[in-house]
Symmetry: C2
Subunit: 453 residues, 2 copies
Amino acid sequence: MENKYYLSHEEMPRFYYNIMADMPNKPLPPLHPGTREPITPDLLEPLFPKDLILQEVSAERFIEIPKEVRDIYALWRPSPLFRARALEKHLDTPARIFYKYEGVSPAGSHKPNTAVAQAFYNKISGVKRIVTETGAGQWGTALAYGCQLFGLECEVYMVRVSYDQKPYRKVMMNTFGGKVYPSPSDRTEFGKKVLGEDPGSSGSLGIAISEAIERAASDPEAHYALGSVLNHVLLHQTIIGQEAILQMEKAGHMPDLVVAPFGGGSNFAGIAFPFLHLNFTKGQNIRCIAVEPTSCPKLTQGKFMYDFGDTAGMTPLLPMYTLGHDFMPSAIHAGGLRYHGAGVLVSQLLKDNLIEAVAQNQERCFAAGLDFIKTEGIIPAPEATHAIATVIDEAIRCREEGTAKNILFNLCGHGYFDMGAYEDYMDGKLTDAVPEKQVMEDSIRSLEMLQPK
Amino acid sequence: MENKYYLSHEEMPRFYYNIMADMPNKPLPPLHPGTREPITPDLLEPLFPKDLILQEVSAERFIEIPKEVRDIYALWRPSPLFRARALEKHLDTPARIFYKYEGVSPAGSHKPNTAVAQAFYNKISGVKRIVTETGAGQWGTALAYGCQLFGLECEVYMVRVSYDQKPYRKVMMNTFGGKVYPSPSDRTEFGKKVLGEDPGSSGSLGIAISEAIERAASDPEAHYALGSVLNHVLLHQTIIGQEAILQMEKAGHMPDLVVAPFGGGSNFAGIAFPFLHLNFTKGQNIRCIAVEPTSCPKLTQGKFMYDFGDTAGMTPLLPMYTLGHDFMPSAIHAGGLRYHGAGVLVSQLLKDNLIEAVAQNQERCFAAGLDFIKTEGIIPAPEATHAIATVIDEAIRCREEGTAKNILFNLCGHGYFDMGAYEDYMDGKLTDAVPEKQVMEDSIRSLEMLQPK
């Protein structure tokens, strides 16, 4: 019985899918933090190349993938799609469970899909280096990889807690030629400020973003790059879902449910947006579920408001589900999900009830991860275990209700650099600090002064 | 341009290939260490299940793979074959370079091919647990994985130097339910003896084998398992080369050269034996090259003699290329290649000039590994870098001679648990102690008293 679905090089999608074209309600515009007026694209030019700014605001439905980028994708793409027959059997479920495996990429996750594209557009724009932040290290690894392919330098600010938890991620970035600094660092004014207030700060994505933007903005030969949240980043990831549609067709089953972990949105958007396209244009009714950690629950407990993308308040104000840019998530191992806000496109879709969101706690996720390891034999990244926990919930519901649903999830990366986390889980040492309601409310209330009049 | 060659589930080989049937000179028999007479299969029964003992001595050309084993192989097999176009371009070579990637397996290497088969045959034999040793950890991980699938316990003695170099390998074995002890340990008489003489011993595969055999022999509910060297182990790996033949046919290029790392022989045999079958039966002339480390050069500097498979002298005497069972290789990172002897089948083939052997030093191998990372984007296990170094040598020769050879190698595993080794290399900290000629000669000379009269 076949359980692996491959595509040939010729079947690899040649266009990114831009969901902006199909959204019934377009997202609200980003605002200038000073004037609270919609920003103009030229304001982003110190940080991003023109091509990416155009993609950020484009309403074109399909945007061509440059040949130079497709040639590199071909090293690992199309990525395989698996049917999780062993997990189905273990759960004794009538559900059919499929997963798209992005861990086959050089960085071990879906992140190179956008890293390679961003490096390409930056290269042709003429800059010499790219500065970025990274949480768990997947994004930093991906960008270091993309940069060295195009002869660009890469400077990475890695959230301190992940830097300490996953020392070999740094080495991996080094093998791709990247330079890595723990954040908060003393290389930026903002980093020094944070360290001044809390010398033992474990950092956050918001802080690391501020540091990377500060560095890029003060270096005329550098641009900044973000691994999630922004429209163009989500756009590049849609190659995942487009491939998955072809593969599910080969498998003879279209999904009833599409599940993905949620940090800033690129993981979820990558697999879900092309299926939402089927909902929008083919009258299908595929449920798309974003899974966030209970320790950082912006989708299920945050509020839809204008907020900064970073902690220092250097970015434009974005309309999104957020816990507030000052919110400090606890140091869970799924570093890629420790972000206070949600991308603009995904936030609008959630507001319009076109997608769903659930939260899972860390312990439950690692238990689900171990179930997956013991059946499917692949060690999932802690981020990916969030999707797995929800898939298992849904598969058990199928068993109880006697319905044979088709469930697809994004196995966004492997966990070979996260064995310390699995060790902690097996030793009973994992904690999962769910934020107090008051802390979230205070953090969100502080945003009121930022809203447009 | 296609650079990935997949096979469907239906194309997965259903038989192992047993090279014994085709060898012009059959290997000499194993000897009883006391009598120096050929051993009878029943002597092995305390350690191995009957099915595996039968495979060990079988002369049948094709041996069916049990359905239960094929069903598990289907999780990751057939494994992909890649054309290394980016590496070719980097080397500016007319050679076509292909690699069979075994790193997609649950353990991250080729080892589950035999681990799953061995666990299955042990399960139906009625034992409750399997004891084994592991060097770099690939084999121990594979056996832990295989055991948990069939509800067997797994006890692993891991060579101390690798245990310390790769802490997360232990955790990975734990996730599969395996129990792991650094060797030499105080859990066996032999381990205590070694520690008594050298409390800081970094261990070796030979010592760990002795410990595992001692444990298994003293436990009526346990069997022992070996991850390389023995005929049945090499047999199980031949699924690799059989798949590769089908994939090279799809690629439209049969190899002129097949290259693989060499520890005990299973990696090399796995990919090379099916191609030697073509040499034996179809008049082809495919060169098969085994690559060993200069720090443990039994093929290129050892001697073909009877020797023990372990350090304590618990195994039958095997006719093989060896540096002597007392030989202690330096603590290179390619732990899977730190073994004093070579499997019986491979030794006989080398003696008959039907295969070739070369040695590569550690620094050169890591340099080749980084070339591979920066072009193909996959981090190879240190063992695999030995093959890559030789492939690069041959590809450069092709460039100089202007010949477009087809080169295939076994990318036997990924190096995600070996980032410490890459860090040492990039920091200029790698040493590569090539053994002194006198040490090797003394160690080999001590074998003279073991030879049959």
